[in-house]
């Protein structure tokens, strides 16, 4: 027998619409950036599709009581549109996806959040930012990204990896393609490998004063930008990051139905796991309701649950709060929780308090990009050109 829903909005249209109202305003503000641009048909259509898409997702989260499947839709769209828009902008500015020594010297390389793991030690030791990007100017300025990351970490901890990271949607997407995993057993111990990567890339960056993860290992260079192949070394680098993308972002997630790159290799994921300790939200397992079926262990995409952790009543610090285990639990034993409050009461309140900032984060990162991406696609279909 299925346990009745734990949330007061589930199955109730009126209550769901009421909770949706603030999100209607939030999405409008963040998709338009506070400055609506309806100058062309493409912009209007782009805005309408994005606006309806996100509010539909949020309404469904409220009405069905499910989180992950609707979060994943927005999250995967973020990854795809981010790559598409980023590549189009690069090609427009530089003529191709690669960057040259001149771009490095001019500090024109956009800064992504993963670099934060490598700049901390050198900044502390030498008062130098070891990344060839802009400190204050542009959409990917170093200071801006650090402030955004700090804010999100304090608010959501590793929730960033499921609600805001513009790369995570790649392996989240590929891990959902097959209905059943081909590789059924993937030892959760490999989640700690990401911490080893974090330690090493941080030390490696301090040793060479160069962000070596970006230089050599980042799989996502395949779908963003990379160094122009001008030597054996740059060719080797290209082979390394394309192979890592194929293995960690496509093949292994496909076969295991786990987010392998995020769970086992991303240094930023490991750093965000540490921030899970200081933010206010976590996921709890009600031990009285739990029947130890361990479906949550099987389904967790970041290997954050094992038998011991289920018995303890909470996932490991690597939990990225995607909500997959919560949705899968037939006994409603798993739920979002606000630290310091009773874990078995006011489940709707705790969920809503988490969903509003988390979903807003998703909209902030995706909204403008998706709208612009749709505008570009409309231009491509109507004029045959992206530019």
């Amino acid at each position: 027998m299925k346990t009745p829903s734990a949330y007061s909005t589930t199955g109730k249209i009126g209550k769901s619409v009421l909770f949706l109202l603030p999100m209607l305003l939030i999405t409008f503000v963040f998709i338009t950036g506070g400055q609506p641009d309806f100058s062309g048909t493409g912009q209007v259509i782009g805005f309408i599709i994005t606006y309806v898409f996100f509010n539909y997702l949020f309404f469904r989260m409220l009405y069905t009581g499910k989180t992950d499947r609707y979060r994943a839709a927005g999250f995967i769209v973020l990854a795809l549109f981010f790559a598409f828009v980023f590549i189009v902008n690069l090609v427009r500015a530089r003529g191709n996806m690669s960057f040259s020594d001149e771009n490095i010297l001019a500090c024109e390389i956009p800064f992504c959040h993963i670099v934060i793991t490598m700049i901390i030690i050198p900044a502390a030791l030498t008062q130098t930012i070891i990344f060839p990007g802009s400190i204050l100017e542009g959409f990917a300025a170093i200071s801006l990204m650090i402030v955004i990351w700090l804010g999100i970490s304090l608010a959501l901890g590793r929730g960033f990896c499921s609600w805001g990271c513009f790369y995570g949607g790649w392996d989240d997407g590929t891990s959902r393609i097959l209905k059943k995993p081909v590789i059924r057993k993937f030892n959760p111990v490999f989640r700690w490998a990401a911490f080893a990567v974090l330690i090493l890339v941080a030390l490696w960056a301090a040793l060479t004063l160069t962000p070596q993860y970006c230089n050599w290992l980042c799989p996502f260079k395949t779908v963003t930008e990379f160094e122009k192949v001008t030597s054996v070394e740059t060719l080797l680098k290209t082979i390394v990051f394309v192979s890592l993308f194929a293995a960690l972002v496509i093949i292994l997630p496909l076969l295991t139905k786990k987010r392998i790159q995020c769970a086992t290799f991303c240094p930023m994921g490991a750093l965000c796991s540490l921030t899970n300790k200081i933010n206010v939200f976590d996921v709890k397992i009600d031990k009285e309701k739990c029947n130890s079926c361990l479906k949550c262990v099987t389904i967790c995409p970041t290997l954050s649950l094992n038998k011991e952790e289920v018995a303890r009543g909470k996932p490991s610090m690597t939990c990225c709060k995607c909500g997959k285990c919560i949705d899968s639990c037939s006994r409603q034993a798993i739920h979002y929780h606000l630290k310091g409050t009773p874990s078995d009461k006011k489940l709707t309140t705790a969920r809503m308090l988490f969903l509003y900032p988390a979903f807003t984060l998703l909209v902030i990162f995706t909204g403008g990009t998706m709208q612009y991406g749709i505008t570009l696609l409309i231009r491509l279909f109507t004029t045959g050109s992206l530019f």
Binding site: I121, L125, K185, N187, V189, W192, A193, F195, A196, V197, I199, L200, L203, W204, A206, L207
Partner: protein, 210 residues
Amino acid sequence: MLSSEGFILGLSTGVVCLAYCGPVLIPYILAESTRVKRNYLSLVLFLGGRLIAYLTTGLIAGLIGMTFFQKSALFTRALAIVYILLALLMIIYGFHRFREICLGSAGKNVKIHFGPDLTAWVPFLGGVLTGFNLCPPFMMAFTKAFATGNISGSLMLFFWFFLGTSVYFIPLPLIGFVRRQKVLQIIGKFASILAGFYYFYLGLIMLVHK
């Protein structure tokens, strides 16, 4: 004079030394982390190995001319081999008892044995091999030691340089105070394997470029 010069040089550049030796020492301390006392013993062994490497270098610096030393292709090749040996040491150490520590019962199909347990010697060997690392502080000390023009002065400078740099290693064994020892051990094993690949790559590049 030489003692204070060497010590101050070590103190002022020791953080860089820590960054160079960290990828070798930190994974070991994490992986073996049980008690702070044991960690300090590992640190002493590691520093002992480093001291031997430094004194050997001091001896060489006093004996032969630096120009010869720097231009020698043989020396570059020897360093490359040192890196590769270090890489092998770390990879073997990483996989040693990997099943027991990391995989537990789930890794019953993984069978990796490397003979008798000689893990206590890993920090000592790691210390020797990283001691020959051509990091910027090491090169600075080498230049100064060479400038002394005699063996005793060169040895003295390297000894005090060693003491100056070692100050930064003192807090590392305190990792033993962290409660989740098992997790640290697993992270240490993974880090050791990954660092091994990194040093292997460095050695290979040096061999190729000569």
